[in-house]
Each structure stands twice: as structure tokens, then as C-alpha cells.
């Protein structure tokens, strides 16, 4: 991706975030939009791991869980401001990823999948079982960020939906910008070399384990921040945020949109976030349709939706 493409991607994303509210018929859509941005943020993290470095994780919801519960627990027990709790969660996730990543990332393919999956399950199990601390399966309340009342004091009145739409949109933009910068950096190029062939990358002097670990840690921090934003936004959190299905959803969003591109990942996140909202009308068919979408896209559009569509459009132009 050249420098120009980077700014095009960011520009498109910024325009979408800024202009979409013009088409919102009700406040409810701000909530859905914010949810899309949160999901897209963790998926951008997975693009770094899967798309750049070529490693899979089926346990990234574990990091989202750490971020979410940091925002729930730290203000209550440590007296931290929720914003600092978000940072704390990100640090804990990053350190955790560094610690478990070292041994885990030696594994490949299905073995790596099951090892990361095991990590995610352990996190969600702790969150579910430590009732005294986390409220168990019922979940717990999350403190208010306080930023909205601050804005109100400054004379800027926003509804909860509008406020979170803005915050999540801005964080997503920053996350996308960082990811795109990484893509062009020497470190990013080294990561992308892994995707082609780890052996080839090693022969040209790439420190393979180090780059894998770096991608793993960065993507864990993305997932953690996304988890924190979700918790703060809802004001409430349950262990589902760290569940296996959430990990699967994240990977599906990444692969659905096209794992190589930040814009595609956002697109994938948007579709899979919108789908259940649309399908609530046909609640019984929700799982069936979700599964079918996963299977069909993987078979017929293996590059992901956005790249496939882009290629088809280009093909028609020429």
C-alpha cells in the first residue's frame, strides 16, 4: 500500500463516519454505529495479526474481556478514572499477550488456533467463575466515563448515542491510522514478509519470533481498547464479551471484509454487526443465516467481500 492509498483509506473512513449521521432516522442508529466502530477497532487489530503477520487467534475475545473488565473493576477497586482504567486494561492485555505469545506463537495453523482458543476460554472462565469480583455470569456495572457531562458543562449537549458514536468513531480513525502507518513501516514490512513465507523472511534477516510477537501484542491492545469502549458505552458488562463466539465473530468480521485491508475489515465489522440487528425480526433464523453467510463468503469470495467487489468493479472498467 502506497502512502497515497493510506490517505485515501483514512479519508473514506473519516467521510463515512462524519456523513452517515445525516441519514440516521432515529437516535438508535447512533448506537448501532458506535457498536460497528468498536467491533471494527478490534478487527483492525486482527488485520495486523492475520493480514499482516499471517497468524491466527481464536482467543482475542479474551483480551476484549480484559479491557472490558478493567473498566468495570479498576474504578471500583483501585479508584482509577475509567479513562485510566482503559489504559490499564490495554497495558495488562499487552503484557499478557507478550507473556503467552512467546511460547504460543511457536505453534502453527490449527495448533496455534487451539492454543489461542484455550487462552480465550481460560479468561472467560475466570470472569464467569469469580463471582465475588466480577458478578459471575450476570455481569457487573461499569462506571460512567464522565466526559459527556464535562462536555455538557462546556455547553455542548449530546445524547448518549451521539456521544459514543463520536468517541468510537474517533478512536477507530486513530486505530486505523496507526495500523496503516505500521503497514508502511520497516516493522510492518517485516511482518508482511512472514505472511508470505516465514522461512524466506528469516533468510533475509527478519527476526521472525519477534515480529510475530509484536503483531500479537499490538492486536491484543486493539482488542482490549475495543472491549473497554464497549463496556463504557453499555455501562454494563457480562463474560460473553470474552466468550468463544465473540472470538469467532471477530475473526469472521476480519476475513469477511478482507483480511488484508483496514477498510475491508471495517466493512466486515459493519455487515456482521448489522446482520443481527436486521435479523431480530426473524430471531429464530439468526444463527442459520449468520452461519450461512460465513460459509458462503469463505467459499465464493475467499479474498473477502470488499477486495472481491473492488476487483470485479475494476475488471468491468478495463
Amino acid at each position: 500500500m502506497t502512502g497515497r492509498n493510506k490517505w485515501i483509506s483514512l479519508g473514506v473512513l473519516a467521510l463515512l463516519i462524519a456523513l452517515l449521521p445525516l441519514f440516521f432516522p432515529s437516535g438508535y442508529y447512533y448506537r448501532v454505529g458506535a457498536l460497528i466502530f468498536v467491533n471494527a477497532l478490534s478487527v483492525v487489530g486482527l488485520v495486523i495479526l492475520i493480514g499482516y503477520a499471517g497468524q491466527i487467534s481464536l482467543g482475542h475475545a479474551g483480551f476484549a474481556g480484559i479491557g472490558a473488565y478493567a473498566c468495570a473493576l479498576a474504578p471500583e477497586h483501585l479508584g482509577l478514572h475509567p479513562a485510566l482504567a482503559l489504559v490499564l486494561g490495554a497495558v495488562v492485555s499487552g503484557v499478557m499477550a507478550a507473556l503467552i505469545g512467546k511460547p504460543i506463537l511457536r505453534l502453527k495453523g490449527y495448533y496455534l488456533a487451539v492454543a489461542t482458543l484455550g487462552f480465550g476460554i481460560l479468561v472467560s472462565m475466570v470472569l464467569t467463575n469469580e463471582r465475588g469480583l466480577t458478578g459471575g455470569p450476570d455481569g457487573m456495572n461499569v462506571a460512567d466515563l464522565g466526559l459527556r457531562s464535562l462536555l455538557r458543562d462546556m455547553g455542548w449537549r449530546l445524547s448518549g448515542g451521539e456521544f459514543w458514536y463520536m468517541v468510537c468513531g474517533v478512536v477507530l480513525l486513530v486505530g486505523a491510522w496507526l495500523a496503516l502507518n505500521l503497514f508502511d513501516s520497516p516493522s510492518g514490512r517485516a511482518m508482511r514478509a512472514l505472511h508470505g513465507s516465514e522461512v524466506a523472511a528469516a533468510t533475509v534477516g527478519v527476526d521472525v519470533p519477534r515480529q510475530k510477537l509484536r503483531a500479537f501484542v499490538i492486536s491484543a491492545v486493539y482488542a482490549s481498547v475495543a472491549g473497554s469502549l464497549l463496556a463504557l458505552q453499555n455501562g454494563y458488562i457480562t463474560p460473553d464479551v470474552a466468550g468463544f463466539m465473540h472470538s469467532v465473530e471477530m475473526v469472521t468480521m476480519a476475513v469477511l471484509g478482507g483480511v488484508g485491508s483496514v477498510l475491508g475489515a471495517t466493512f466486515g465489522a459493519a455487515i456482521l454487526t448489522l446482520l443481527p440487528q436486521v435479523l431480530t425480526v426473524f430471531a429464530e433464523y439468526e444463527q442459520l443465516v449468520l452461519g450461512l453467510v460465513m460459509v458462503l463468503v469463505m467459499i465464493f469470495l475467499p479474498q473477502g467481500l470488499l477486495p472481491s467487489i473492488a476487483r470485479r468493479l475494476k475488471g468491468r472498467d478495463e
Binding site: N129, Y285, Q287, G291, P302
Partner: protein, 290 residues
């Protein structure tokens, strides 16, 4: 001592189910290099279809046969409709395809049947058998015996029959197998049918003990996968031993440490094994050479 024996009995019972799921994984993995995350759904289907066929008035053995046949057909359909069209796709795509398929099967089951938990009567009564101060349910013996029977049956199939040898040849080297005239496409179909049948059989055996509902497959698939990995992916003996070991780990943890964290310990053990010997207990020691 009595307590230990009691824990081992329950461990071997669930372990036998994990072993059957792991055997299913192994067969498909060998034939196609695909780890089929819908394997747990085969177990669920075996139990669910038997329940509803039985409640519709079929005698239990016939209901079980119907369930195994229908599940095999679904396994074959999975291969034809989702796996074969995606031939050569990267591992991530295959993982998502089979997870997607498992969600489809779960969603369809919930539509066709319901969301309740079900059971049917044990095969030979519910009077516990006393062994050395511990007790074991007759149905547990069915489960353990069933797993062993399947293992022996598979061993005979793979070593003594031409078809079985064709499967082994395909597993070993797909292109070479094709060159000597083996229809590898058919081998894959057979493998999916066979592993679905084994999964459904496990579901039939265990439903009287653990109950069945549309969503019991996820946990089973994860445990079966872990068991297969513990034993060494692709190795039937490893699947059997890995499953039984995993079941015993879980039961002992639940008994002596914490019932809430029994599954955690299972995963920790597996992670430990993967770090020390990534090929699993019985995996081939071959290293990737470049």
C-alpha cells in the same frame, strides 16, 4: 481410594465421548487436512434425532440407527457443499467454514426441534453397579465399551480392508494415492460420512447420562479437538488415549481441586503438552524441512 476410583469411572465415561469426537476429527483430518469444528454437532445430532424418533414411536435401537444414518448424510453433505468447493483455501478460511457450518447445523436443529434439553432411557437400566466400593452406571459401561468397539472396528478397517488402506494412502500422500488409482474425492466423502456416524453414535451412547440440547456441540468439539491434539493430531491411537486422559484430568480436577475450573485445567494441560512436545503424545516426530 474409593473416591479416586469413583472419579476415574466418571472420567473414563466422559473421556470415552471425547475420544469418539477426537476419532472423528482424526479421520477427517487425515483424509483432507481439515479440522472439522462441526464435529461436536454430529454428536448433538445423534442424540437429538434419536430423542425425537424415539418419542415419535420408533423403538430405541431403530431410532438410533435412523439418527446415525441421517447424521452421516449430513456429514457427506457438509463435505460436498462446503469443504470440497473450498479446496486449497487457507487454514483460517477452513476454520471459519466449519465453524459457520456448525452454527448452521445448530440453528437448523433449533428450528426443526426445539431449545430444550432431552434424554431417553438408559439401554440397560439405571441401577448402579458396585465395584470395589465405587459405583458405575450401566450406561457408562455402554459408553466406554462403545468407544473401544469403534476403535477396534476402525483399526480393522484401516489395516485389513482395501478401502481402509485407500484412506490411509490418501492421508499419507494425496497425489501419490491418485496416481495409483485411488478415488480421493470418494475417500473424503467416506471419511466425512464415517466420522459423522461415529459422532452420532457417541451422541446416542451418552444422551441418557448427560442429556442433549441443540447447543451441546460446541463444548464437545473443543474438548474433542483438545483430546486429538493431546494425543497427536491425525493419530487414532492418540485420539483414544488423549480423550480418555482428558476425561480423567477433568474428573480428578473436579473431584480434588475445583469443579468450576475442571475445564480450565484440561486446557492448561493441553497447552503444557503443546509447549513441551508440539506434536502431541503420539504424533510423528517429523520436522518440517526446507
Amino acid at each position: 481410594m474409593d473416591a479416586l476410583l469413583q472419579f476415574l469411572f466418571s472420567g473414563l465415561t466422559v473421556g470415552a465421548v471425547y475420544a469418539l469426537v477426537a476419532l472423528g476429527f482424526t479421520i477427517i483430518y487425515n483424509a483432507s487436512d481439515v479440522v472439522n469444528f462441526a464435529q461436536g454437532e454430529f454428536v448433538m445430532l445423534g442424540g437429538m434425532i434419536t430423542v425425537f424418533a424415539f418419542e415419535a414411536g420408533l423403538p430405541l435401537p431403530l431410532a438410533a440407527v435412523v439418527a446415525i444414518l441421517i447424521t452421516s448424510a449430513i456429514g457427506v453433505a457438509l463435505n460436498k457443499l462446503a469443504i470440497e468447493p473450498a479446496r486449497g483455501a487457507p487454514v483460517v478460511s477452513l476454520i471459519i467454514i466449519t465453524i459457520g457450518a456448525s452454527i448452521v447445523i445448530r440453528g437448523a436443529t433449533q428450528l426443526v426441534f426445539d431449545k430444550q434439553l432431552h434424554r431417553f432411557p438408559s439401554f440397560s437400566g439405571d441401577d448402579p453397579i458396585h465395584v470395589l466400593g465405587a459405583t458405575i452406571l450401566p450406561q457408562s459401561l455402554w459408553v466406554i465399551g462403545g468407544a473401544l468397539a469403534v476403535f477396534v472396528g476402525l483399526w480393522i478397517f484401516f489395516t485389513l480392508t482395501l478401502t481402509g488402506k485407500a484412506v490411509l494412502a490418501t492421508a499419507n500422500n494425496r497425489v501419490a494415492a491418485q496416481l495409483v488409482g485411488i478415488n480421493t474425492g470418494w475417500v473424503m466423502t467416506l471419511s466425512f460420512g464415517l466420522s459423522a456416524a461415529i459422532g452420532a453414535f457417541a451422541g446416542v451412547l451418552v444422551t441418557p447420562i448427560t442429556l442433549v440440547g441443540y447447543d451441546v456441540g460446541v463444548a464437545l468439539a473443543l474438548k474433542g479437538f483438545a483430546a486429538a491434539m493431546l494425543g497427536g493430531m491425525g493419530n487414532p491411537k492418540g485420539a483414544l488415549v488423549g480423550g480418555l486422559l482428558l476425561g480423567c484430568f477433568e474428573a480428578l480436577t473436579a473431584g480434588y481441586l475445583s469443579s468450576q475450573y475442571k475445564e480450565a485445567v484440561a486446557f492448561i494441560v493441553i497447552l503444557g503438552v503443546l509447549f513441551v512436545m508440539p506434536q502431541g503424545l503420539f504424533g510423528s516426530k517429523s520436522t518440517e524441512r526446507v
